[in-house]
Every structure is written in structure tokens, then in C-alpha cells.
Symmetry: C2
Subunit: 457 residues, 2 copies
């Protein structure tokens, strides 16, 4: 019954895209439908991402809105924006009608404000319309903005048999039943049940007697990153969302959390590499420039700063010591590398809630660590310079200052993210170019000062 698949992953080939394009060009609707219905909606979205806008819109209008609504949620954000521009408010409302409230609200939120109201007014199902309007009102990045209204809810006074009967009704609207939430007559969350519990229980039992009372929940105003941490830590697959009066409002499922975790990881990774905004390899050169140029500019300013400092030193440095300048790229590179390492460990520790204890202890530990690394590296550098230049004092000056530079770079790399975090600023912005650039400058200043001191200039 199941076809053998060679790869577990769908492969988007040029042949497949060309085949779809040809079917569109020939208006061969029947075959196109048959072909695309073979694929999962997430795969069809990948195909549409590669088609021209006209072709994509053609396919969207051709397929049933039950399928296309799912496809639309999976399209690349830029492509989706363009596709939706080519659909009428009525058509978008029909797509939205097929979706769960959370996905529906996400799509509507991406529309220009004036269109949002128009699309909402065209949603025929009144309850769906009201629920979507409610979800749109929650602030970005809160549990409310991520939750769906779809859930299975039972009252504590029901019996197992009555419950099963009513769940048969409710469950049809809910894609996946994780937990059944138990509420009292004021709609307050007081417990939960699994479908398994219900199946295993005797039919005359009261819900109140079989419900588990310790149910994890989050508040509608909680930050999504905190929700993600709780769900990952406690291995939850869904978590109910309540308001300040404990009223059950909705639920968040693990698949949305997987997306949050991925986005968060991507963002931190990009910040560490000096890229802002959420860009992808396939974005336009202009978008990529906007994400990359500011950080490069920061690096340029840092480089100019380093130049000015070095020129200042040059005036007071006898010509025979100009060799010191030939080591500045080495010093800057080491300061940058150490700084990035220590900031990355702290940023990651903060993200995983692993960083316990006082800032002072952290700094002392980093100092010891940097001193150890610095010493090992400096011995090596000393041996090289001494062998190469046959000058003991010069070798000593350069290698001693390297230790100092490494220790200070480690301290800066540790302190800045901790400091930003204490002030409520995302510490991830402190990694990458920010740390590298400031450490370049600090490193060069410290190096030249210490070298001058040791050389007695």
C-alpha cells in the first residue's frame, strides 16, 4: 500500500518545476491538479516559491481552498505577500476560513492594515471571525500572539460517557487533540485529561474524579521565548493559555514552538556573524546589503580608530621599533577571537538559563581561563619572535602584552553580554562585530602601551 521512497526528504528538482510551469502554460488544469495533489502542502509551497508570481497565483486559484490555505501558510514570506496582493479580500477570507485561528491570524496580520478589516469582514463564520479578531489584538511575541483558539474543553461536572459524546463533536474542529482541558462553570482552567485517560476510564466516572489537577499553563502576556523554554524543558506538546483570572483562552502547540526555537537560533547566529534582520541566502542583494552594511560600517569605524591610535603612537616611537606595528593584526585578531568566544559562551548560557551565580564570579573565572590560554599562546609567540628577531626584550614585550590583551578581551567579552542582559537588552547583539571591533581597538592600545613600557621607550 505504501510506495517505497528512496529519500525521506522531498527533493525539489528543476525537472519538477519545469513540468509544473509547462502544465500552467498549457492550462492543463486536470493534470496539474493530479500532479500537485500527490505532494504534501509544504512541498507544493516549495514548488510555488520557485515559480513566477503569475504561475503561483494561477495554481492557488486552481486548487481547492482546503489545500491552498495550508500551502499559503508555508510559502516564503516575501512570496506570500505578493500572492495575497493578487487575491481579492473575499478570496483571502475563504482561505482563512479553512485555517486554524492561529495560522489565520498570522496571515491576516501580515496584510496592510486597511486590507485586514476588509478581509475579516468577509469571513462568514461568526465565531471564527471573532476569535481571529481577538488573536490579532495580542501583542507580538506574547503567548497570546502564538496561541490558537481551537482546543477540546470539558466541564468538571460531566461524566466520562457524556464527555466522549461531546468530544466527538468538538474534536472535528481540532487538528490534533493533545490534552483535554477541564474547566469549572466560570471557564477557569482547573485540570487536564489525556484522550488516553478518557479511553481507559469507566464511562460512569465523573471528569472531576479522573482529571489531573497539576496542569502547566502560561499567561496570555508571557513572552514566547519563555513559553518555548517551559515547553522544551518539561517536554510538553501543548500548553493551555489563561488570562489573569485563570480563564482558559487558548493553547499553544509544540510545532509552533519548534518554529520559535528555530527563528531564535537563526537570529542569534546571524547576530554573531554581523547580520541584522531576518535574511536568507536567497534574498535580494539590496536586502542583504541592508542587513550586512551597518555592521561592516561599524568595523570600518573601528579600523579607522585603530589607525588614529597607531599613528598617535608612531610619533613617539623610535624608527627601530616600528616593527611593533607589524604585530598589530595578530594582536587585534587574538583580542577579537577571545572576545567572541567568551561572549558566545555567555550569550548561549543566558539563552539556556545556564548562567548562575554572580557577575564577579564569572569575571574571575574568565580571567583565569584567559590567563591560562594567554600564557600558553604567549610562550609560543615569545619563542617565535625571539627565534625570528633575535631580540629578547622585543619578544618579551610582545608576548607579555599578548597575555594582557587576551585577559582584557575575555573580560570585555564576558562583561558586555551580562551587562546588556541585566539591563533587559538582548545580549546577542554584543557578539560578533561589536565585540570584535571594540576588542581590536582596546587590544591595540593595551599592546602598544605595555610594549612601550617594557621596551623602556
Amino acid at each position: 500500500m505504501i510506495e517505497e521512497k528512496e529519500n525521506i526528504q522531498f527533493e525539489l528538482t528543476d525537472e519538477l518545476i519545469e513540468k509544473v510551469e509547462l502544465l500552467v502554460t498549457n492550462n492543463n488544469d486536470k493534470e496539474l491538479k493530479t500532479l500537485l495533489n500527490e505532494y504534501h502542502y509544504a512541498d507544493v509551497a516549495e514548488i510555488l516559491d520557485e515559480l513566477s508570481l503569475d504561475d503561483s497565483v494561477y495554481v492557488i486559484k486552481l486548487l481547492d481552498s482546503e489545500t491552498t490555505s495550508d500551502i499559503i501558510t508555508e510559502l516564503d514570506e516575501d512570496i506570500r505577500e505578493k500572492v495575497l496582493k493578487n487575491l481579492s479580500a473575499k478570496e483571502i477570507a475563504e482561505e482563512v476560513e479553512e485555517l486554524d485561528t492561529d495560522d489565520a491570524a498570522d496571515i491576516i496580520a501580515e496584510l496592510p492594515e486597511e486590507r485586514q478589516a476588509e478581509v475579516i469582514s468577509k469571513i462568514e463564520d461568526e465565531e471564527h471571525r471573532e476569535e481571529i479578531t481577538e488573536l490579532l489584538a495580542y501583542e507580538d511575541d506574547t503567548a497570546g500572539s502564538l496561541m490558537a483558539k481551537e482546543l477540546v474543553k470539558v466541564y468538571e461536572t460531566w461524566t466520562v460517557a457524556g464527555c466522549l459524546r461531546r468530544i466527538r463533536g468538538q474534536a472535528k474542529d481540532v487538528t490534533r487533540v493533545h490534552s483535554i482541558y477541564v474547566v469549572d462553570k466560570e471557564e477557569k482552567l482547573i485540570g487536564r485529561l489525556s484522550l488516553k485517560d478518557l479511553i481507559v476510564a469507566k464511562s460512569e466516572q465523573k471528569i472531576a474524579d479522573i482529571a489531573k489537577e497539576n496542569v502547566d499553563f502560561v499567561s496570555v502576556t508571557d513572552d514566547v521565548e519563555d513559553v518555548a523554554k517551559v515547553m522544551a524543558k518539561y517536554d510538553l506538546e501543548a500548553i493551555p493559555v489563561v488570562d489573569s483570572k485563570q480563564t482558559l483562552l487558548g493553547r499553544i502547540t509544540i510545532d509552533d514552538i519548534v518554529d520559535v526555537l528555530k527563528e531564535e537560533a537563526d537570529k542569534d547566529y546571524q547576530l554573531a556573524a554581523g547580520i541584522t534582520q531576518d535574511v536568507e541566502a536567497d534574498d535580494s542583494i539590496l536586502e542583504l546589503t541592508r542587513a550586512r552594511l551597518p555592521w561592516l560600517f561599524l568595523g570600518l569605524i573601528g579600523g579607522i580608530g585603530a589607525f588614529i591610535i597607531m599613528e598617535g603612537f608612531e610619533g613617539s616611537l623610535p624608527k627601530e621599533f616600528s616593527i611593533l606595528f607589524l604585530f598589530t593584526p595578530l594582536i587585534a585578531a587574538m583580542a577579537g577571537n577571545v572576545g567572541v568566544q567568551s561572549s558566545a559562551i555567555i550569550v548561549q548560557g543566558l539563552a539556556n538559563d545556564d548562567v548562575k551565580g554572580s557577575i564577579n564570579n564569572r569575571l574571575i573565572k574568565e580571567m583565569l581561563l584567559a590567563a591560562l590560554n594567554g600564557l600558553i599562546l604567549s610562550v609560543f609567540l615569545f619563542l617565535f619572535v625571539f627565534a625570528w628577531e633575535q631580540n629578547f626584550k622585543l619578544a618579551l614585550a610582545i608576548s607579555v602584552s599578548l597575555v594582557a590583551v587576551i585577559i582584557i578581551a575575555g573580560l570585555i567579552g564576558t562583561f558586555i553580554p551580562l551587562f546588556l542582559d541585566k539591563r533587559g537588552i538582548d545580549p546577542a547583539i554584543a557578539t560578533g562585530p561589536f565585540i570584535t571591533t571594540s576588542n581590536d581597538i582596546f587590544g591595540i592600545v593595551i599592546y602598544l602601551l605595555i610594549a612601550k613600557l617594557i621596551l623602556g621607550i
Copy 2:
């Protein structure tokens, strides 16, 4: 019934740790049990991570193995290793007996080889013992190493009523029922059902009639990262694992995938920052040094290389042009920053399967992007050098070479990860210090060559 919680997250306070320590010191077992039973096992694990080894072992031996087995799976790996050393093979076997097969196999796999066999032989439940032995045989990072044997399986010939009856039996051993897998009489996977389908169906219906035939599955030898991609893309909460004959072997659940995704993201982030091995902020200075020093050493070698190159140029450079050396930190920093940006975009794109099209197109795009960024930055640098040094030719030489350096750095940053990926090597190792160091050297060589050419030296 539910207590009001101020924070959704458990907070590990010094007071709590001290309280636990005091109860341990006083051998106040009853109160200690009462206190710890209030917390989720993942929270208890966090408490134990902070206690002395003796205290942790005391707590583990005190609590029921039903609770402690879960606590042990959540302990920090280093702490777990030490705790298990302090338990007898029999005690470990008792803990393992309480766990699902996947968690049980993970814990046993961490033991020294000679202890593994001893612990396994002490597991009383024969089926559990055999299943764990099977799981231990799969290679690391394959679907087999991640799957659990616990699942709910029904035969296509059963009726809904018969099925519900038997599921009541099977489900007790399965923590969470996601899907019910339908097999034929040869144990081959031929479809799936949700509990919801079963509840909604009529009791006399045949399983074969209500089963969904298109069931996603993975092969037991598939890479876990591929499994994670499939599950995230298709929003799956569990996926069955089969062998080459389509025999149902086990299933992988989304909570394990969340862990895989987090580990993968952490690893890439650390590599980009020049940290190998899986270290955390709280690891020992020695462990952190082992993870950081090799990359710093690479940077040092690069710096020494840059020095040797610059010294080579110095001989052929008239003294009035030694100012060129004062710009080498700027050039190296820009080359490093651009390289890290382009490699990070490629590495992330490869991880998300976003990188389509040929390597040549990628390189052309990166060249245009780097040229655009380089031009903007060079105009700025030209104006600065010209204003500062009043030397048109010098300003031109430095800024023109900056453009060239940026373009080449971008190309290197794009090419290396693509090249590594083609050869089957994890491209993430090419980010961070590797790119920075090689770009430092290339950048300085190109800069000095072009500057010499323009200045006509």
C-alpha cells in the same frame, strides 16, 4: 484548585538549595521528600546539579525510582556520570526499568562499556532488556539511536471495538499516544490512525477501512538531522521508524527532535564563535580551554603569517609609505567581517535547505553584493584618508584595495562552506576563526600588493 504562580518558570534560588542541603545534612528524609515531590523532575534535576555529589546521591537513593529515573535523565551529563558511578549496577537497572526504552538506552550508552553489560543483565523485564539491547546496537546520530520501542500498534484486520479494548492494554506502557500505527500480519507498516479517528469511528468498523494510508515514516538508518528536518517541515509530532523491509521498529517523538534542533543550533553557534566540543558556561576551566585554545592557536598562527608577510613587504617599501602598515588592522578586520557574514549566510542556508542553484551563481551574487558594500565603504574610507593625510594617491590606493579585499573575502566566505558541503564535511567548521584567519592573511597580501601597484612603488 490550581495555585497562582507568579512566574511560569521555576526559579532556582540560593535559598532553595540551602534548604535542601540543610534537610540532607539533618537526614530529615520525610520533609525532604515532601519538599522535592512538589517540584517537576526537571526542576529537581536542576537542584541536584547544584548540590555536592554526596548530597545528590543521597537524594537519588531517598526518592522512589519512578521519580529518580526521570530526574537522572534531566541531570547535567557530567553530574549524571558521577552520580551513576555511585550507584550499583542493580540500582541503575532499577532506574532504567522505569524509563522508556529510548531514555534507558541513552543512559546505558553513557556508562563505561564493562558496566553496560552488567547493568543490562540486571534488568528484570525481559522484553525491556531485549529492546534496550536492540537500541544500543544502532549507530549514533541515526533514527535508530533516537527512537523508542514504545508505541501503539494495531493489525489491519481488527475492528474498532476490538482495537479500543486492546489499546487500553498497550497504552498504559506508552507515555503519549500520538498515532496508532497499523501493520499487516508481517508487521509491515501500512497506515496510521489517530485516537481521535478511533473515537469518532463506529465500533464495528474494520481498522483497514478507517486507517490513513499515507503515513510518513523514516528508515532506521536515516540521519537524525534529516529526521528533524522532515518532522519540523511537516509539523509531525511523532514519526514511525521502519527497516528496509518496511517492518515497524519504533517511533521518534517531537520532544526528542526539539533537543536535536537545540543541540544542532548550539553546536553551529559555538563553531561560528571558535569553540569546539559541547561546552557550557559552567564547565571547568580545563574543559573550556580544550574547546577554545585550538581555535586561538589557529588565530595566532595566522597572525604570525601576517607578520611574516608584512615584514617581507617592509623591505621593499620606502619609509614614507610605512603608513600603509597602520591600516592593516582595518583591512584585516574588514576581510574577517565580510568573510564571516557570507559564510554564515551560506551555512545557515545549507542547514535550512534554502541554498538552491549552482555554486557559480552564488559566487556571482556574492561578488556583486561585496562590490556594492565595498564601494560604499571605500568612498567613506577614501574621504577620511584624503582629509586626514592630504594625499590623493595614498587615499586612492587604500580605498581601491579595500574594495578588492572585500570582494575576495566575500568569495572565500561563500566558496569554502559550499565546497566543504559538497565534500560531505560539516560547513559550520568553516565559519568563525577559520574564515577570519585565512581572510586576514589574504586581505593583507592583496591590500599591500594593490597599494604598491597604485602608488607605483
